[in-house]
Structures are given as C-alpha cells and as structure tokens.
C-alpha cells in the first residue's frame, strides 16, 4: 500500500470537516437551497465559482431545450438538470447517488509522488545571464590582454639573430624555454631518459590523473596529498626551467646571471 503523504491526509480531513459543516447548515434552510442547488453534486465544491455553475446550467438548459422535444415539453433546463440528480432536489443536502460512506463522490486511488515517474535531476541553481555578466568580463579580459601584448610588443623586439649557420654552434645552445627543464635533465641522465622517458611518462601520468585520483571531493582540505604531489611536480619543473634559463652559461655550465650575465633568448 502506498503511504499517503501527511499533507494530503490533512487536506482530506479539512475537506471532510468543511463538507460536514456545510451539510449541517444547508439542512437548516432547505427551502432556499432548492432554488439554486440544481447542480447538487457540485454544491459542496466551493472551488467552482458560482457564475460558472450558472453558465453551465444555462448551457445545459439551452441544449436540452433546443434539440430534444421531450425535454422542451418540460419547459426549460431546470427539469433536465433536475432529472439528472432528482435526489438532490428532493433532499438537497443528502448524499448523491452512488456516494461513498463519508458522502464522497471521489476516492483517492493512488498518490504519484514527483520523481517516481519523471527523474527530477536538476536542483534549482543560482544562475546569472551570460549577457551581460560573463560577456563583459570576457570582453574586458580580451581587451586587457590585447593592450598588454600590443604595448609589450611596441617596447620589446622579438629576437632575430644572424642567419642560421651550420658551421658555427652558439655556446650555449639552448632549446625554447619550456623545454629547458628537459635540457637541464640532460645534464643528469642519459638522453633517452631525459628527453623521451621522463616527459613521456609525465604526459601519460598527467592524462591519467582523473582515473588515478579516485577521491571525489574537490575541497582542498580533502585533497592534501594530491595538491602536495602536484605542487612538488610543478615546482620541480619550474626550478629546472629557471636553472636552465638563467643559471646555465657557456658549455651549459652553471653560472650566476648577476655575475656572468644572461645567456637566454626568448
């Protein structure tokens, strides 16, 4: 048996009490009720406005009066309706034919809770319009970036050294800055390890990160290990890149930039 939610039970109880009160009241003056309780089955239903009841009564009367000869002999819609619920005319407050023990004309068959048929996934969320809230931010960010690149390019020229010459190896020869961490590793490991294995493994592990890290939380306090590991890695590469960029001079030997100067081109 489906359990009926408490608020529905409460509502049914209220309706029952209301109907009982109305019954008691209308049985007191049944003479006046006979005039307008022609639709007795809905008299107890206060939710239907009186003017609608009136209109439906008139419509029914017109229909039966116009088409049906038998009904028109009765002289108006009143009889047509009255024949339908003659019991109500005789005893307007009495229960309609076929009503249940409590005087109900309808029964609660089942309660379908929201979520039992349709899967309600979306919880209401606090949202804002993309225009203007997000687009304005994006526009300003793009504009600021353009301005920065423009001014920086106006002030600082990109390097263009002399024509490529296979016979003259510059000392030191450096890779682009983002590869200088790898070049730095070359001083410590065999080229296969430094140039292929370590970066290859690095990218591979990075790709697999979401499948390795099974912790569902994104709160920093729950992910201390992951954050620590990533920070160590990022710092490791950053330090290698900085050493390779600024602290390596001729022969890729260690130098101090403030003594020997910079050996670095972007």
């Amino acid at each position: 048996m489906t359990e009926i939610p408490e608020h529905l039970l409460k509502r049914a109880q209220e309706a029952k009490e209301k109907a009982a009160a109305k019954k008691a009241q209308s049985s007191g003056d049944d003479g006046g009720a006979a005039e307008d309780s022609s639709s007795g089955e809905s008299a107890g239903d206060s939710r239907i406005p009186a003017h609608l009841l009136e209109r439906s009564k008139a419509a029914k009367a017109r229909k039966s009066g116009g088409g049906d000869a038998e009904a028109s002999s009765g002289g108006g819609g009143g009889t047509a309706v009255a024949t339908k619920d003659s019991g109500a005319v005789a005893a307007p407050a009495g229960p309609p034919v076929g009503a249940g023990p409590g005087g109900h004309t309808q029964r609660l068959l089942t309660v379908v809770k929201s979520g039992s048929i349709q899967d309600v996934k979306a919880k209401p969320q606090d949202k804002v319009h993309v225009w203007p809230h997000l687009l304005v931010i994006e526009f300003v960010a793009a504009l600021a970036m353009t301005a920065f690149v423009f001014i920086f390019s106006w002030l600082v020229n990109a390097p263009l050294l002399e024509l490529a010459n296979f016979n003259q190896t510059p000392n030191p020869s450096k890779a682009p800055w983002y590869f200088l961490g790898l070049q730095e590793l070359l001083t410590m490991f065999h080229p296969m390890v430094a140039g292929v294995t370590i970066p290859g493994m690095g990218i591979f592990v990075l790709i697999l990160a979401p499948y390795i890290d099974k912790n569902p939380s994104n709160k920093p306090e729950d992910r201390k290990f992951a954050i620590a590991l990533m920070t160590v890695h990022l710092m490791f590469w950053a330090v290698l890149v900085i050493i390779g960029s600024f602290f390596r001079g001729p022969g890729f030997n260690f130098t101090l930039p403030w003594i020997d100067g910079l050996f670095f081109e972007l």
Partner: protein, 255 residues
Amino acid sequence: MQGPGRLTEKWNDLKDSVQGSQAWSSIFRPGSIFRKGYNDSPRNRSYVIMNSVLYHLHPVKVKRHAVKVSYTLCLGGLSFFLFILLTVTGIFLMFFYRPTAAQAWDDIYALQTSVTFGLLVRNMHRWAAHLMVLSVFLHMARVFYHGAYKAPREFNWVIGVILLTLTLLLSFTGYLLPWDQLALWAVTVGTNMMGYTPVLGNQVRFVLLGGAEIGTDTLLRWYVLHVLFFPFITVIFMAIHFWRVRKDGGISGPL
C-alpha cells in the same frame, strides 16, 4: 531650434529604413541587439545569446559563481583569445614569408625593416605565443588545484592535456621559422632529444626533419605543421573541449 530637431528626425528615418530593410533583417536574427534598439530585460538578455553565434560557445545562463574572475582567472578564455590573436597576426606574417632556407631569414628581416607594422606584428606574434604557453600551463594548474578534472569532467581533462601538448608543438614548430642561429640550434637540441626515442629514434628524427639533417626540407615541413596541421588539429580539440565544458555541466562548482 529647428535644425537639430529635423536632423534627429532625418536620423531616425534613416535608422528605421536601414533596420527595416530586407538586407538588415536577413543578417541579424530577431532578438539580436543589432536588429532593433536593445533595452535591458531578462528576455532580451537571453535573446542576445540565443540569436547570435555566441550560442555555440555560451549557454544563456551560467552558475553565479562561474562568472567570478577569482575562480577561473580567465585563463582558459585568455588561452583561446591568444590563439585567435596568434591566428590573426600569423596570417599577416604569412603574406611576407617564404619557407626556404635561402629566403626565410631575409623575408623576416625585410618584414621588420620595410613592411608597415611588420616589426610590431611579428613581436606580437612572438610574445603572444610565449604567453599562450604560459596561460595554457597555468590553466592546467588552476584546473588541477580546483579538482575540476574529477567526474564527470575526466575526459575533458584528457583533451586539455592533449591541447597543452599541441600548444607546445605549435610553439616549437614556429621556433624554427625565422631561420636564425637561435631557431636552428634550439631546434637541433630539441630534435636530437627526440632522436633518442627507443627503437624508432632515427626514424622519428628523419620524419621530423624531412631528412638526416636540418635543412630547407625541414623548414618547409615545420612551416606546414605550424600554419596548417597543428592549428587544424588544435581547433578540432578546442571545439570538443568547449562543447564538453557545457555538456559536463558548466565549469566545476564552487569549492
């Protein structure tokens, strides 16, 4: 007093006839801010997105915390914007550049000395490229620290790492093109390293260089990779990346 009044009237007549014309209304969809005057209402705010090409990128509404600059630092968006900036400046540079060992350096030199805005555009291309490497890298770090790679966004993280690799490859292939001492020897160092790939080392190096040594064939090869192949692949992966951001429920929730 009659002058300005009549002028305004003329202006309004002109505006009405332009905005009422078939050409104008065929270009701007109903609800576009350019179709008729825009006044601020929730309905029009929705229409601005729904009736423009922006609908391919953005939904009509996003979570309130998603517009916080302190959360994203705009890094993903700026990476994309730098990619666009690099495409625009790169197309300009292509007009003045021939990828052969005999002409490349001279073309760059002529671009800097005798082409209007040539030096400026080349500088912008170079600095924006370095900035893009940096911003993509920082974007990855930001996403990691927010735990945004976790379900349901695992696969978008994978695409993101591929995009990071593609960004490095785009930058590295562009590094050779000026054909100066810096380019030649940086690429020599880089490709020598890749030559140590186990088993296939020599083949990998041969394919990359288009020969046994760096030469004019290498330049042509890297030029095509730089201006066509890698941008093409990158655009495809970016499209999937942006689409997945929306399909996976927008950017990751507040911490």
